[in-house]
């Protein structure tokens, strides 16, 4: 019987590849011109997801780089629009690139990410799947501890 | 509609006494009755027969004495009674019991449209035989039914379960177990009882009639074993007070005060 396996946290999880995970990392965060997507571990006491990423379009063109609550490099002038429970990143023409929404339970949180994300080669790495995302290519590195200790 | 009702003869619970020295049940003078919820099941069957036509058969697995329960059911209006009895059936857990009863029902021609059982018995109280019988016969089940309505080839039933009232449509053939509240069993006139005990015929089937193997029935066919029986340990060593009802009532009031449920100062 085939079976997929992950780790689940009592406090906060992301929904990715139809599984719960405390955190995950795809791609290469260290290099300055490569795609990466980091959904970092959220510890008890915190309630907001920590998403850092370098986004590219379907042709491999660089779009933006974001770190947690802000966009740090933004050549095309995208906007970060918060709404109750989350935020979305939209292009100047209003197209939604990324949607991050956190559901609150009595004792914990679940963050659903939606978006169609390409890497620097124009290859599709993340795409929407029902109410969350499916990751393509290499198996994402499941995180058990926070990657970036801020 | 052809209905089979599974019943069990059980000791009338309040009259069980224990010989505490020898850890045995004192069976002298203990009345045997049809398990109360099985009476409710039988009543439901007779009700359906009245409305839809058909036959009601009652069936039980037990020692010879269980025949009394079957005759009583015939007196209430059942058309056919079958006793499943064999020394090898003894010591069965519900796995083995459902095997025996299921085999008997499979032997019936025509196969029933509906099987009714009481949800649980007052002696062993597991409530397992109904669902396990449904599984043995590969039938859909609903347990703890409080209402039954007939539709074309199906029944619409209501069930109270864990704080919800559920309504289901169940296709036939099916097995239902019934709860209190479904009906109030009819009183059986003495004359009908006398007739059932003198003239009614009870069919008897044993291991060979059911074409089962020894390993499938009774103690051998069971998966669970009782390791030991014992008295429950007493955790509270409370005080026991005797006296006149006045004294006892006063004692109670004092206790309520000490627990702060009543205030001390209220004068009588």
């Amino acid at each position: 019987m085939k079976s997929r396996e992950s780790v689940v946290s009592a406090h906060h999880n992301y929904l990715v590849n139809q599984m719960l995970a405390p955190g995950f990392l795809i791609g290469n965060p260290v290099s300055k011109d490569e795609f990466y997507f980091l959904a970092d571990v959220v510890l008890p006491g915190e309630s907001e997801p920590k998403i850092c990423s370098r986004l590219y379009d379907a042709h491999g063109g660089f779009i933006l780089e974001m770190e947690a609550r802000e966009i740090v490099q933004n050549p095309s002038g995208c906007l970060r629009q918060p709404f109750p429970g989350g935020y979305r990143i939209v292009t100047p023409s209003g197209e939604s690139l990324l949607n991050v929404q956190t559901e609150s339970f009595a004792n914990g949180f679940l963050t659903r990410i939606q978006g169609k994300l390409y890497d620097q080669g124009g290859k599709l790495r993340i795409e929407p799947y029902y109410d969350a995302i499916q990751v393509h290519g290499e198996v994402g590195l499941w995180l058990k501890e926070p990657f970036r200790k801020k | 509609m052809n209905i089979v009702v599974c019943i069990k003869q059980v000791p009338d619970a309040p009259s069980i006494r224990m010989d505490r020295e020898r850890m045995t049940i004192i069976r002298d003078g203990v009345e045997s009755i049809i398990n109360p919820l099985d009476r409710v099941a039988l009543e439901a069957a007779l009700d359906l027969k009245q409305k839809e036509g058909g036959t009601v058969s009652v069936l039980t697995m037990g020692p010879s004495q269980s025949e009394e329960a079957l005759r009583e059911s015939m007196a209430a209006g059942a058309d056919q009674a079958i006793l499943l009895t064999d020394p090898l059936f003894a010591g069965a857990d519900t796995l083995a019991t459902s095997k025996v009863i299921g085999s008997a029902i499979s032997k019936m021609d025509p196969f029933p449209d509906l099987i009714l059982c009481g949800r649980q018995t007052i002696d062993s109280d597991t409530g397992h035989v109904g669902p396990q019988l449904a599984e043995e016969l590969n039938l859909p089940q609903v347990c703890g039914v409080t209402e039954i309505h007939v539709e074309m080839n199906a029944l619409v039933v209501k069930q109270l379960s864990d704080g919800f009232q559920n309504t289901y449509r169940v296709s036939l053939p099916a097995l239902l177990t019934v709860s209190m509240g479904l009906n109030v069993p009819r009183h059986i006139p003495l004359g009908d009882l006398e007739e059932a005990f003198s003239t009614a015929r009870v069919i008897r089937w044993g291991l060979k009639d059911l074409k089962l193997q020894r390993e499938e029935v009774g103690f051998s066919g069971s998966a669970t074993t009782v390791l030991r029986l014992y008295k429950p340990p007493q955790k509270r060593k409370g005080e026991i007070v005797s006296g006149s009802s006045q004294t006892l009532a006063e004692n109670l009031i004092d206790k309520l005060v000490s627990l702060s449920i009543l205030d001390e100062d209220e004068a009588e």
């Binding site: 599984m19 | 049940i25 519900t94 796995l95 669902p131 619409v156 296709s171 209190m180 007070v241 309520l256």
Partner: protein, 335 residues
């Protein structure tokens, strides 16, 4: 199934019944006990979660002590349905081979587990009040009330696996919620085919659920020893005066003196009030299982040898009806 290789079966599984989650704590109680049993066996406790969009419960069970969570998330599992669930769980059990499988003795559990046990040709004990491991043989000792109530039976399932049991709510204590807890989570690929022969038409909360017996601070219970339905009615006034609720024993329900949702005991409700007054009840284990969690128990019975008197904190030997009438007189004057 019957097996000579019981060594191949490993692990303690608990079925996650998450309906009415915050009120219904039995799964959490079983996770705590299951964890202890697993440690005694040198293994882990896994909680099965079947349903649709059940992420919250996977996280809650993690917080309450699960070592692993096994999830089957599918729209066909949204409503609890016996055969659909039996189909899924039996596939999981056949594949993963847990040695022990536990569920709370909720109405669903008591309908689902027997069918599942039969599907897998294994033994099941109902409504256990204790569970322990016999380490030398890796056997689960399942303790249930027996013989209509006066005794306890220790039951084992020597040659079949898994060893299955449903457990009475309120017997074990849950572990407190731990926000830092983590668990492994598995998503097995199973065939989830809905049972078509039983269709749920509608489901609504049971309105007749009288006043929350389970939440009352004071519970007053009557047994057949009260003598009549009229005498039983006294309990309603007593409950009102003391700010409590009325409970009943099985013989009382069968006699039509009270409705079934007042039933306390093995097949009824379990209560843990501050005070429980039990009048005219003899003390069958099937009943006392439902009240043993009360802080203080006062019992009234005219038989000095009635078991209830020994299990109470205060036992009054007298005629229940008379003592209660006098008590009511005195209370009416005071309050």
């Amino acid at each position: 199934m019957k097996t000579k290789q019981s060594r191949d079966w490993e692990g303690v599984w608990v079925f996650g019944d998450y309906r009415n989650y915050f009120q219904n704590r039995v799964t959490l109680q079983l996770i705590a006990k299951g964890r202890q049993l697993a440690r005694d066996l040198g293994t882990e406790v896994t909680v099965l979660v079947l349903g649709s969009q059940i992420h919250q419960y996977a996280m809650e069970y993690t917080a309450h002590g699960a070592d692993a969570i096994m999830v089957v998330d599918h729209p066909n599992l949204k409503n609890y349905q016996v055969e659909t669930y039996v189909r899924v769980v039996s596939q999981l059990v056949q594949n993963f081979r847990p040695e022990i499988l536990l569920a709370g003795a909720t109405a669903f559990g008591r309908e689902f587990f027997p069918r599942l046990a039969k599907r897998m040709n294994t033994g099941l004990s109902a409504d256990c009040v204790a569970l322990e491991i016999d380490g030398s043989k890796r056997l689960l000792i399942q303790t249930t009330p027996a013989f209509g109530g006066d005794l306890l039976a220790d039951i084992i399932t020597p040659e079949h696996r898994p060893q299955m049991a449903t457990v009475h709510p309120g017997v074990f204590e849950e572990r407190i919620h731990d926000h830092e807890a983590r668990a492994r989570i598995l998503y097995p690929e199973v065939d989830v085919q809905a049972e078509e022969r039983v269709q749920l038409i509608r489901s609504k909360p049971d309105q007749s659920r009288k006043g929350g017996l389970e939440d009352a601070d004071v519970v007053v219970v009557g047994g057949k020893g009260l003598g009549s339905k009229e005498n039983f009615q006294m309990l309603f006034e007593l409950a009102r005066l003391l700010g409590g609720e009325v409970g009943a024993t099985r013989p009382v329900i069968l006699s039509g003196w009270a409705e079934e949702n007042r039933l306390l005991g093995q097949t009824g409700k379990s209560v843990k009030p501050k005070l429980l007054i039990t009048a005219g009840t003899s003390g069958a284990v099937q009943y006392t299982t439902g009240i043993q969690g009360a802080e203080t128990i006062i019992a009234i019975n005219r038989d000095p040898h009635a078991p209830i008197l020994k299990m109470a904190d205060l036992g009054l030997v007298g005629d229940a009806k008379t003592v209660l009438s006098l008590l009511l007189e005195k209370l009416r004057k005071r309050l």
